[in-house]
């Protein structure tokens, strides 16, 4: 036998083996459901990914598996969850390679979302091409308004720039009407896609609402000192301060605002504002600070979830992670409704049904969450949802922000 025939023969044999394996597998229930994800574990976005997303994946896996697994009606059996995961190092090209690898080589049953807007956006066309339904839990980008329609397998869970920024402007305008603020607002943003889009969405709406934008500037990710910028904001005499920030600078903004005694009546920070570390560091000074995203602490099941989270990670959960957990609950419920891993059917169920979760009832219209929490606020040492005000469990705005102590 020459080498070529040998190679051909082996390939055919291997193919046949795989084929029999597959046919056989269709008859019996799988012994586990393999979920794949590539996510940022190192680099500047690593901490956020850990706190918001990876921790939730692990907790969900544990809680579901403790209960026996995900029920597949077709086999009338509960099947435990298994993870295959990689570190994309915060690089989109790495993420794309790993996503392909998870689908093509590791042949996972389902995929979970990566972390951060640009990464979710990068993964969406790939999972869509292979028809893996994925709920993107950390993407806020104006692009979803168009792209959601093009990618039927990608779902967008959290509040997008318009929905996130407009309520802030509306609220300041409302307070101005009541004579509680001057209507002068200072806006700064971190120079990332998220920051730029949130900033633009806010400025747009602020113009419509007749607010006076007294400062509008950016700073780079990884900035070492924000005091000059805070000083500039202070100098404008603005009593509303809106920062479209990312985690490390969110902490720095709060600390330096406190140090220079900048005490706006209305203060918003974006990503990282909900981290429990913020409260660990600043104590009761966090009260009154508005943040990106919200949650209803009174949601059924929240107490058990918090207990399990504390037990697993020895720290409280952050409000921003609840949406991730909610998306996992949707995924589980959709799989259980379908009763097997038929990704087309699972996709259709997610696209049409409504799902009770820790993050309230989730329902997707054109693959976008119909009414996500947009703005939260620290009140009495915990993050509560404030806007949209019509959502079940929404709390009234705490105003003015208490002075730094």
């Amino acid at each position: 036998m020459d080498r070529r025939t040998f190679v051909k023969g082996s390939v055919a044999a291997a193919g046949a083996a795989t084929l029999t394996g597959r046919v056989f597998a269709q008859a019996a229930a799988p012994d586990k459901l393999r979920f794949g994800y590539a996510i940022t574990q190192s680099g500047p976005l690593g901490p956020g990914a850990e706190s918001t997303t990876i921790s939730q994946y692990k907790l969900w896996q544990k809680l579901v598996n403790d209960a026996g697994g995900i029920l597949l009606k077709k086999f009338n059996r509960k099947v435990p969850i298994d993870f295959v995961s990689y570190d994309d190092q915060g690089k989109p090209d790495e993420l794309l390679k790993l996503t392909e690898r998870l689908i093509q080589q590791d042949r996972v049953d389902m995929m979970l979302a990566p972390y951060a807007s640009h990464m979710n956006l990068a993964a969406a066309p790939v999972i869509n091409r292979y028809e893996y339904p994925v709920i993107m839990t950390t993407a806020t980008t104006s692009k979803t308004y168009d792209l959601a329609l093009k990618w039927p397998y990608a779902f967008w869970n959290i509040s997008q720039p318009n929905e996130s920024a407009h309520p802030l402007s509306n609220a300041i305008a409302e307070l101005k009407k009541e004579g509680k603020v001057s209507g002068k607002v200072a806006v700064v943003h971190v120079a990332t896609e998220f920051g730029v889009e949130m900033h633009a969405a806010f400025i747009d709406q602020a113009k419509k609402d007749g607010l006076d934008v007294a400062l509008s500037k950016s700073y780079p990710l990884g900035v070492a000192d924000l005091q000059p910028l805070i000083r500039e904001a202070m100098a404008t005499q603005a009593d509303a301060f809106v920062c479209m920030s990312y985690p490390p600078d969110t902490f720095m903004l709060v600390e330096q605002a406190k140090i220079v005694g900048f005490n706006p009546k209305f203060m918003y920070v974006a990503i990282g504002g909900v981290f429990p570390g913020l409260k660990d560091k600043f104590g009761s000074n966090v009260n009154g600070i508005l943040v990106y995203g919200g949650v209803n602490p009174g949601e059924p099941g929240m107490a058990d979830y918090n207990k399990a989270h504390q037990a697993m990670f020895n720290r409280p959960s952050e409000a921003g992670a609840i949406n991730v957990y909610g998306a996992l609950q949707v995924t589980q419920q959709a799989i259980e409704k379908v009763g097997e891993i038929d990704r087309k059917k699972i996709r259709d169920v997610i696209a049409t049904d409504a799902f009770p979760t820790l993050w309230g009832e989730l329902k997707y219209v054109s693959q976008r969450n119909a009414n996500p929490w947009a703005v939260g606020q620290w009140q009495g040492g915990e993050v509560v949802g404030v806007y949209p005000a019509n959502k079940a469990g929404a709390k009234p705005l705490l105003f003015p922000k208490p002075a730094w102590s």
Binding site: G43, L229, M252, I259
Partner: protein, 288 residues
Amino acid sequence: MFEVLLGGVLLGGMYGLVALGLNLQYGVSRILNLSYGEFLIGGAFIAFFTVMGRWQLNPLLSLFLSVPIAFAMNWLIYRWLMLPLVRRAPDQDALDADVVLVTFGLFFVIQGLALVNWSGELRGYSFLAQGVDVLGARIALNRLVAFLGACVLALALFLILRHTRLGSALRAMTIDPVAAELMGVDVRKFSAMAFAAGGALAAVAGMLVSTFISFSATSGGDYTLKALLVAIMAGVGRVTGTLAAGLLLGVVEQLGGHLIDPGLTLAINFGLFTLILLLRPTGLFTRA
């Protein structure tokens, strides 16, 4: 304006502080240590646990733990990982290449261990997070403390290098290791000590920086990069030069941010770096 300048000085002090240990390691021991930032973050973590742990102590006390650990670990790294490379390298260029690869690997190992132990969460604590008025400008006390720490360390290092026998030996090694050895300097021993001292300085810097900047298990690389930038600007082995280069960087960054746009601070950083490399490729404070 004065406040902006002062802010730049404080920031620059921090840059200098971060780079001191790296420059000592590279200048004297001739080891370009890419895992340097990991020891800095190690110092930050020990400080964090000192403050947020059961006893809630002053972070300065963490130095009693972090400095000996960092010193010992770096000494061991030099003896066990670097020395074999030094022995077999035919010249400095070959050594640089080997060392960069090994310390880059070490960077991943330490970071991986840190991630497993401490997870990737963002950490921060409050220490002296209050303002003080200096000639009418309001500055953060913790940043001021870090700046003073940088000055004290740089001065101490300078005095040791200038006025002690050990210092003469170390300086001789910086200039020409072979000649120093011929003059009876125990190059291996002093290299190991300088390398270990550099690691200890990193731990001190980490503690001081952690009082005002949040960090995580993966922030080390950023500090290594910053330290490299400053050390290369200053010139290899220049101690006071390191502080001065840090100050220059900090002031230019703050002024640029203030006068042009805060969004440009990183661009200004690297612009200045490029300019200095073009004009004085061996560093600002190296004698020709």
